[in-house]
Symmetry: C2
Subunit: 193 residues, 2 copies
């Protein structure tokens, strides 16, 4: 069942459908040492029949160690035209090459197939964050097979538990909080901006 | 002395000078329970003669308890026209009404003065995040005095320790890492995107 915050989020996405950067959002995690980390990732749609947001990531990226230790994240998503912010706090599920769940593995393969050749090629680049590899051939890789995800390719699912929606354009501003209770039901309340 | 990442950041800000939302950035912190938190805040410029980013916040907001426990934050700042991301990890200094440092207190007063009446009024609104106050008069407050900051008004300074600059538009993309060493010197290196 779709959570109640899905409608306003779908409206914001529709309103910004001509701006590719409206699908960029910021994902915060916590490092094993307890420090905050924050980076921009691309929204790859919701997993069918769920409220899980799909993100892709490289198995060699820093966030992997972070979410193995602390599997919770908070997304901050700002829409500049409609002046709205969605904060989505939830658990993170990593679907790597060795993930045993067949349904999740199938999902990983499908998302890989839908990526562009350019996006797929990045998973064949040298280790992200390592000292710069200046050999041009290291980045001029042949596009990987669309049917077989590279080992470095991971799918990341965020299952929201709490959502905060702020509309800056109201007078005064409007803000709603949604919390998923133990039975899976979403409680919803207007709160002060 | 200006840190070496200040020039590319100044260029990005200049290039986006007609887009007010380019001064919106995402600040990640850690809750006392060890969970990530993430929200959009407005960049209020650098403190003179320093590399400290200025942000304003409400003493009643959730991030206050977070940064008292874990005074580190990571900013993620994405510039949509130039397709660049800056990640700034650093320590957070809260300048509240009772902060004893006279220089910081003066800075707090100056930033308060530069806010618009609308921005100042928000600090006189009902408790943010509490159940919605539906009385229109609660939000229709008289603009506070520009010379005397309300008790709720806090200045927040982020002193970067590590910066990661990613240019998505390169072929391949370009990425630099800057780290401030114990002597205050910024080490700089090209890394793989």
């Amino acid at each position: 069942m779709l959570a109640p915050w899905r409608s306003p989020l779908a409206r914001a996405l529709h309103r910004h459908r001509r701006q590719p950067q409206a699908r960029y959002l910021q994902l915060a995690t916590v490092t094993p040492e307890g420090y905050p980390a924050n980076r921009t990732v691309v929204f790859r749609g919701f997993r069918d029949e769920t409220n899980q947001l799909r993100i892709v990531t490289d198995a060699r990226s820093g966030k992997i160690a972070q979410l193995l230790q602390q599997p919770w994240g908070e997304i901050c998503w700002y829409f500049s035209e409609s002046r709205e912010q969605f904060r989505l706090f939830g658990s993170l599920v990593l679907v790597a090459q060795d993930s045993p769940d067949p349904a999740l593995q199938q999902e990983r393969q499908q998302i890989w197939q839908r990526l562009s050749d350019t996006a797929r090629s990045q998973f064949a680049w040298p280790h992200p964050g390592a000292a710069r590899d200046h050999r041009p051939e290291s980045f001029a890789v042949a596009p990987p097979e669309p049917t077989a995800p590279l080992a470095e390719f991971c799918l990341l699912l965020l299952e929201p538990q709490r959502v905060d929606w702020l509309e800056l354009c109201g007078e005064p501003q409007n803000r709603w909080r949604y919390v998923r209770d133990a039975t899976g039901y979403w409680q919803q309340a207007a709160v002060n901006p």
